[in-house]
Symmetry: C2
Subunit: 322 residues, 2 copies
């Protein structure tokens, strides 16, 4: 979910025939199809058949599109880039939330950067130890649109532990007192244009400062099939910034570029964190099986499996992964 | 790699503007793009930008297309369905070969069904215990085309242990003496049209018969995001047919539908096989690090991780997976 200003909308090229049209797009005048590609993902594109456009609008930050697809349920696209589909959102939301929260014994205070759809909040809510869930999302129109069209995600906002801050996360973190959070989850857009700040050292430094000793960061970290250099750079910055451990994990999300998404997991100085083996397993959370719905993707075996890297990635990331 | 007759070419819809055109295709007259979709994968499509068409022809069984893509290297498509790209073929070829061969102590005789590109042969060759590698591929034009355009795969045919049988695998297995193989690897096309036979009980029964006691099967088994019912059916047949263990594993292949591919692993009566933990690790094979190139994807952690299933898949496949 994009959370940073996208005033120069460079990172998209979308067509839904008859509805939306951008430069660099593939146009299809016969079939109703969303083709999406972007500069993070040159030379390829993924297409979803559109049954019905449900919403399109423009906020101060981005173009927002919601449509019913023929096989992935409802879809949210920002600036022409698919952010989530009802069919596979479970993989992303559950992994980005539970990889960090199940790695520490008893998370109490959590910050979400971005995540205006509410899906990450929904997942954090399963953890009964959590007392405060701050979320800093820049685009309140995304929140409103998701409340209307994606109630299974925006249900996350209904939890009384949630405190919504509409604004710039870089600014929010600058003003956060030292040692506030047990976990920070960065559910960000691709680092092109203004979101570039979210992969730079000062941003990670403010997060490290905002974390308690033994606190953890989970940061969206692109595709190991496509973005090796970017991942290497992020790992390198994180190893300089976080004094505990730094690891890369990944999982399958069919509608993301190359069908995977990665996460960088970091811990601060303090009690050591073994990300590779969940100390606070989801299977023991009563919220995992009750509430609105069951966990659909994540479990403790999937958690451990997420850290197994292909041989090429081990070699390429080896200078940065301990 | 398709290995079965595709005389009724139902399962494709391809366009490369100016070069190929099929019904149900998306056509793009401006950009040079291969859009591919198929009935195994309704409502979505993946597209690769085409730099140059290198070969197109028609065998007795299928249309064969080779092109240079802009970001995935050379690509082989059969009947408009991408079979492999140079960028990500390592994941499929290494997993389908090493998941079974690293699960048994000392494989000596191996049969490959399909696999005319030679990639699976290349991977089997890394195992020094192997004495005989039979391959039964129906389409010798695929073999010839791959020898010309994909030398890094067809190098597999250069191994003196390889015995090539051009013909129908169903027939070949019917004539195979009982207890011939330590491992059978089915590198098949999607089960539409004639390849339907490859997901039916009689085919699995001939494989079980062809295996030695404690022998293993690894069968291409589609996407758990898309093909639950098909996987359930195959698992159910395999549990009736194979008296040892039956497991489902999966991995990431960006250019396959939904970005993943699965494998069914089965063992016959005899010495028990624990697929979940490689007894014959690739790291101990001298061929893993020498020869033409290093293993790029597979390693023992990736092997173990491949058996971790998402919660939804555990529930859906639970009646079939022990």
């Amino acid at each position: 979910m994009a959370s940073m200003p996208e005033s120069e909308a460079k990172c998209h090229a979308t067509v839904v025939s008859g509805w939306l049209s951008e430069s660099n797009s593939y146009s299809d005048k016969v079939n109703k199809v969303l083709y999406y590609n972007n500069p993070m993902w040159p030379g390829e594109a993924h297409s979803l058949k559109v049954e019905k456009i449900l919403y399109q609008g423009k906020s101060d930050y981005q173009e927002i599109l919601v449509f019913e697809s023929s096989t992935y349920g409802k879809v949210l696209a920002l600036d022409g880039i698919v952010q989530l589909t009802e069919k596979d959102e479970c993989a992303y939301q559950e992994m980005i939330a539970h990889l960090p929260l199940c790695s520490i014994p008893s998370p109490k205070t959590v910050l979400v950067v971005g995540g205006g759809d509410g899906g990450v909040l929904r997942e954090i809510s399963r953890h009964s130890s959590v007392e405060i869930i701050d979320i800093c999302e820049i685009d309140d129109l995304v929140i409103d649109v998701c409340k209307k069209f994606f109630p299974d995600l925006s249900v996350g906002f209904d939890d009384p532990r949630v405190r919504l801050h509409v604004g710039d996360a870089v600014e929010f973190l600058r003003n956060t007192p030292e040692g506030t959070y047990d976990a920070v989850i960065v559910d960000s857009s691709d680092p092109i244009g203004p979101a570039q700040e979210l992969v730079e050292k000062p941003f990670f430094e403010t997060i490290a400062k905002a974390l308690k000793p033994g606190g953890v960061l989970c940061n969206q970290a692109e595709s190991l099939w496509l973005h090796t250099h970017l991942i290497q750079d992020m790992l390198s910055i994180c190893r300089q910034t976080f004094k505990g451990s730094v690891h890369y994990a990944w999982t399958s999300v069919p509608t993301y570029p190359s069908g995977v998404i990665g996460f960088i997991l970091c811990s601060t100085d303090g009690p050591p964190v073994n990300f590779l083996s969940p100390i606070n397993p989801i299977e023991k959370q009563k919220g995992a099986h009750g509430g609105r719905r069951e966990v659909r993707f994540y479990n403790s075996e999937i958690h451990r499996a997420a850290f197994a890297l292909p041989s090429f990635a081990k070699r390429e990331l080896t200078s940065s992964v301990p």
